[in-house]
Amino acid sequence: MNELRLGRFCSVSAGFIALALLSLYLWGPPLLGPILLAAICHEAGHILVARGLGVPAAHLRLTAFGAELTLAPGVVTSFWQDIVLSLSGPAVNLLAAAVLAHLNRWPMLLGANLLLGAFNLLPVRPLDGGNALFALLSLLAGDRRSELTLEALSLAVAVAVCALGALVFWQDRRKLQLLLLGAWLLSERMRGGACIFTRVPIK
């Protein structure tokens, strides 16, 4: 696998490097810097809360599809812990946005944190909101039924966003963002990205 290891904990895929270079060309450092900072805050939130819950994070992998945080193997967390773990990343982003709004400084960083936090709260897999919803539904109705429900919901949303994105692109050829977002969501479903926290599955 083409990966660049940054120490023991983190690795970066070739796809991520390509995506970063493309983003640098399209948006430049003024936007890419705040986005990366917001992403670092997001993952730091997950890692710190995981440590606080006694679930150490084993590996962080950055790919073109996003960041994958792998917890220590063999550790099985409860659904409540899953909810707290999943929501910790967006919570840190929204907290950072609130602080920056209060300070009235760095609007680009504020916007990046707000968007990243709000986007990850969407109840769709593989986003954090989807994982939290899965854990919540599992508490109420069991994990098998919740898995099926959330997979169907995530696939339906991905297809709907793709269709809407194609329609928008048809009307305005400069608007490709929604179609790309739908393609990303669909590719995540096809890759079988069940949970951003990869660990021993609960049987």
Binding site: L26, G28, W106, R173
Partner: protein, 146 residues
């Protein structure tokens, strides 16, 4: 033939019966390959759909470069939209409203502007004038023929 314990065993594997249990993860490996094939088939289908359905009507040969170029330059608007979002939230705008405005600006097609409407009206008036002039010319020619 006999084994080490002195028990008689078949010298050849019996037909129709498994001699050893299948590996525990054979099904998982096959499922992953199938999913992988399904994934690439879906990607190819989406690409073909875009090329045939969308590209056939939208992207003519000479317009492809212009389209890509306009999309690349459009990304400056995205950076400005994120900064505008941050500024509006700093100024006290409600977060949900600010995010909604950002989504509309970023994802939805651009609406027509008033300037464009005024130009269209002027163009229509000019066309009307030209049409009337042409009509008068035709009327003059027809009377001449009579």
């Amino acid at each position: 033939m006999t084994n080490q314990n002195g028990r008689r065993v078949a010298s050849t594997p019996r037909k129709g019966k498994r001699t050893k249990k299948p590996a525990a993860n054979v099904g998982v490996v096959k499922l992953e390959k199938r999913l992988n094939r399904l994934f690439w088939q879906t990607v190819l289908s989406v690409l073909l759909f875009l090329v045939v359905f969308v590209g056939g009507g939208m992207l003519r040969g000479e317009g492809v470069y212009d389209t890509v170029q306009s999309w690349i330059t459009r990304q400056d608007d995205l950076a400005q939209a994120v900064e505008t979002l941050g500024r509006s939230v700093s100024e006290g705008e409600q977060w949900s409203q600010a995010i909604k405005d950002w989504c509309v600006d970023t994802f939805l097609p651009a609406q027509g502007t008033q300037d464009t409407a005024e130009v269209d009206t002027e163009t229509l008036l000019e066309q009307g004038t030209v049409y009337q002039s042409a009509n008068q010319r035709w009327a003059g020619e027809s009377t001449a023929l009579e």
